[in-house]
Symmetry: D2
Subunit: 367 residues, 4 copies
């Protein structure tokens, strides 16, 4: 499809379409051997472009309509490998990789910025922070991305500044905060956050990272209620983590004692994702994706659950039949009997870990 024919993101959202986001790059690439947990830096766009390209492809194949370039808000004074390659080279490579894959499959490319690591919290004012955001998005403007997303914001004030910067570019403006139902770092409730961001000009508002689907949708519900009450029209967006974390407390999943190297038992199944996608859709969310922990098959589950509404299955569904139907061909009779929706929808999966608890709470502080 040529760019000329491609309808815009907002055009499609305004028409009531559902767009599927991609999943979590850092956690997935860490397990594939390309990103280091801790600094989480994306120099692999230069070092191992094949690895990055491949996971972009898998997300697109799974149904993602938007591919986020694998950049990261990076300061100029970073050390080590990043310094060696240069922020600009890393980010340009990220844009190239995302665009290349998007062209294969017709997806949009998103450029993303995050909250400043320390600037804002150490008191740098609006001018300083906005200047930094402007520097960061320059490369996305040059590469003519389809949308700009400001994500992982813990303070609504800084988020407003990001919206202001992005809005001035004329690009579709999406903003997601990493907050739960308790609100932002200064206790501004989600509803108030959403209203302020809408008034700042955001086209798409929501949450990403930090919380699991259940908590994230609870937060979205509070945002929507406030937007409705204020008579503001905005598209809603959600990209939760792919880990069950009812015990994550106020900070979010980062503080769980299992993070980042023992999150396996908390990982969502594809059926958990089906339920999440349906609930998000029913709440009116139309930009539905994932963050840390969402692998390609989780994104496929979103696209499969919403296939009736979207009118299509993703490419990767050629190797997947909804609700386990293909198990009819399994060599073991017991497994063949699982080729139906009721089985997987009702299963309460065991951990195989009887010596472990089911909750641990932030920092391992329990009951």
């Amino acid at each position: 499809m040529s760019n000329a024919e491609k309808r815009g993101i907002l055009e499609r959202l305004n028409a009531g379409e559902v767009l599927v986001g991609d999943g979590g790059m850092t956690y997935a690439l860490e397990k594939r051997g390309y990103v280091k947990a801790g600094p989480w830096t994306p120099e692999c766009t230069v070092e191992h472009p094949d690895g990055v390209r491949q996971i972009h492809r898998e997300f697109q194949r799974a149904g993602a309509d938007i591919i986020q370039a694998f950049t990261f808000s990076m300061d100029d004074d970073l050390e080590g490998d990043q310094a060696k390659y240069g922020t600009r080279n890393i980010n340009q490579a990220a844009c190239d990789l995302a665009k290349g894959v998007a062209q294969e499959g017709g997806a949009y490319v998103a450029g993303c910025i995050c909250q400043t690591a320390v600037l804002y919290s150490q008191g740098a004012g609006k001018d300083v922070v906005m200047k930094k955001f402007r520097n960061e998005i320059e490369i996305f403007i040059q590469n003519n991305v389809d949308i700009l997303i400001a994500e992982f914001f813990g303070n609504v004030e800084e988020a407003e500044w990001a919206v202001e910067v992005i809005k001035s570019t004329g690009k579709p403006t999406a903003i997601t905060m990493c907050i739960g139902p308790e609100g932002d770092r200064k206790n501004v409730p989600p509803g108030e956050c959403a209203v302020r961001l809408a008034r700042a000009g955001a086209d798409i508002i929501g949450v990403n990272c930090s919380f699991d689907p259940e908590k994230s949708l609870e937060t979205i519900g509070l945002m929507k209620e406030a937007l409705d009450k204020a008579g503001l029209k905005c598209h809603l967006m959600v990209q939760p983590v792919g880990y069950h974390s009812p015990d994550a407390g106020i900070v979010g999943f980062q503080a769980l004692p299992e993070n980042p190297f023992a999150m396996e038992p908390r990982t969502l199944t594809r059926w958990d994702v089906h339920k999440y996608a349906r609930r998000a859709y029913d709440m009116g969310v139309r930009y539905i994706g994932g963050c840390c922990g969402f692998e390609p098959y989780h994104i496929r589950a979103i696209a499969e659950e919403l296939a009736p509404e979207r009118g299509r299955l993703p490419a990767a569904s050629e190797k997947h039949s909804s609700w386990g139907e293909a198990l009819k061909h399994h060599s073991v009779a017991d497994v063949r009997a699982r080729a139906n929706r009721a089985y997987w929808e009702n299963l309460k999966p065991a951990s195989g870990r009887p010596f472990c608890p089911s909750l641990s709470g932030p920092g391992g502080l329990g009951q």
Copy 2:
């Protein structure tokens, strides 16, 4: 390194070296969108070679010394995509992909055959079954693989026939059975199986698939005891599944109610793999890898645990510091405090699923 310089697998095992196997292709590629659960067929070697090449690379980068070509023992009369491509084309593509990656990194290429799906169990005799094995390995001989592995055998008799066929080719001969401590499908104990396979000429004997590391090593222990008692010298090999399954019963993890679409909570952490690798080494096993559920980072954990013995770290360790040391650079203080071995070694990870049990048992039949 030229082939001429490359020392052989048996040469290295005889010298006491540890070789690291690769992980599970089918389960990993299913989640990446390239393999269908149920038939589990590998036509992706033709359809999506990039996807297969990439995961081979990740396993090699994680430390795998042997790359198993992603073939599958297939019958001529298969339907659908496989028929379209032809078994021969699929398997030749598999050999090409494995060899291509192996040449980049100096790994060995393995050709694998499995037990016959129905021939043996329906009473086809030795001649018929051996003829099928001979047909299957022909392509591996033509591609001059470094080793032939007969894996996933449930009956020692059929396994002996496979060993006989492979041994006649002059290639290093490895045989793994998919049995637990209770023995093979006809209740032949693991020790007797091992002795019979050694007498049939196997160079490397062990287990793969069906059971988790704990059960698999229990089985290996019984094999070793019997081999020692019989005065037989063989190398030992283990490739367990990457899922905790103490409740798998006699059949193995396939019969667990969570298989194959809700195994997430059972997935091994990298620290579980460290313990497994150490225990396997201490028992005398020198070919240590994984099967279904083992992702690249699990293989890296084997290579990192045995780095002192092997005298080297795998390439992917450039993005990983053993036991979480790189968390020193994490942005959250609580997470920085996890940058040490004691923390991860002792952690009992929570599932975040308080409404789920910790065991379910085969077929979901519980206590």
Copy 3:
């Protein structure tokens, strides 16, 4: 001690003393074979006085300062055994048994009334309901009990009427509601409930039944906050159930799928009770007891935890040393090593039920 010498309950509470309540009669006597789950009726005071007397004794020996006569608000038109014995006979026997035991040990006797089963909820007005309460307490006045407790009230309005009736008798007036932090059946918040009950004349206000210690103390906290804000002085009282029920929802533990015949795995340990008693004390609660599920040894744990504040240990502590000290004399070495506080305080007890979940939620509706 003669009655003349005995200081009154309010006198002691006003002086800052802690009074220990008794535990749950119905659930304990059901397991001993004297009360039928479902109707939960107390005709055993007539049928098996020895059984009732014994458990009163055990509670008193465990440290209970108040013995609640085992009556139950009963209508005249009951069928079966109750009709045979007559409500009046059953309740007189209850008073006799409580008084007899209290005289042995110096405890107070409480007469209790509950919310009307259906009168109030079916719209009977204040006059009808208050008349019923007056009828019910008549026997307690004749038996000159030391305190009247109106307990298990789900609606603050009906609770106010009960307070009004009791207050008019001149007896110390205690009122406990069976509500959680969400408030009463009509969503009146706990703080508002407490303020209204204080203004209605209650001397002692709190919660009983329905929720576990954690939830109950959360509710008490809300009550105390509101009373403080309103400048009202009242004594606080708490008698939670002896079952962990974080998943009890709004209705309370009655709706848990395990109630009433499979609550064993939820039962508090004595160490859970130690923590509860300490937290209650620290919050300012001075009438601390238990409800369904509290057995004599749970009451002893309250009395032992607060022994420093109370200046005495209960009689039953002659057969118990705090924090397991007597295990020094156990015949098994491993058990002897448990003769210390740190061991029991930190233990996370296993259920021995790996096939069961840790939460189930009201009505068994889970995640």
Copy 4:
């Protein structure tokens, strides 16, 4: 019923009747405040006869056909309270209490001896040990008990000596060992133990204490198989602990980290006991009771499950309807829906403790 009319225990067992044993005195009386955990000594028969009499009554009312006098094999040189009262007085009081209650309800009285605490294991020979047994049973002979039970034997050799002593008295001779499927302390397998005890003259053989119903019945199965193979006819007896302990290892539940003060979550429900009683019966066991952790309602569950075979319900069933039928009268609709067998039989009860594991293993050593 006069003694003359009463048929003997063996007579009834020989006729194929099922006899129900009583439950665990020490653990139950510890929670009631009369026995100290650690020394577990029964001086309460002198100090608090009412408490002991009451629990005997409750067990008898629950269906127990045999009441074990609450003595304990005590050495002459004990200190403290026991020394004060004298072993003889304590044990005579125990006989009086058991006989008194038994006469009310028609039960048999059993006198019991245990393995010597240290004599045997320190190498005292047959003569010394048998002399001690003879001294201990003297009081039971004087009180003309109906049966003598040697229980809690860890070594079959010492058990044989006990059988020899008891057999010589002419009383029915029962012997139970505290062993699991792995056999006695010196690894004599259960089958061999049973055969040796039968040949030594035991009328009734089985296991008590240390293991849960599942493990205990597994042991009984091995005993029965060996007895059958040897052509020996003996009655079988089982008195397991009332705690789920699949992780108890070889030593038994005593070594579990929760023992003795945090066993609540492991406690059997009445429905667990129904299953146990049925399975025991189906295996041919005809003396079915409980040990530590079995409360009166657990014993009632045995008697109710086997009511069809026994032709009668126990007295306590007047306050219990099998499988929750009386819940039809509960005030909460959700609870009324539980008034049926399928509900309770299939329920997997939650612990309400999401921060706790489901298994802990002996000494807390886990996976």
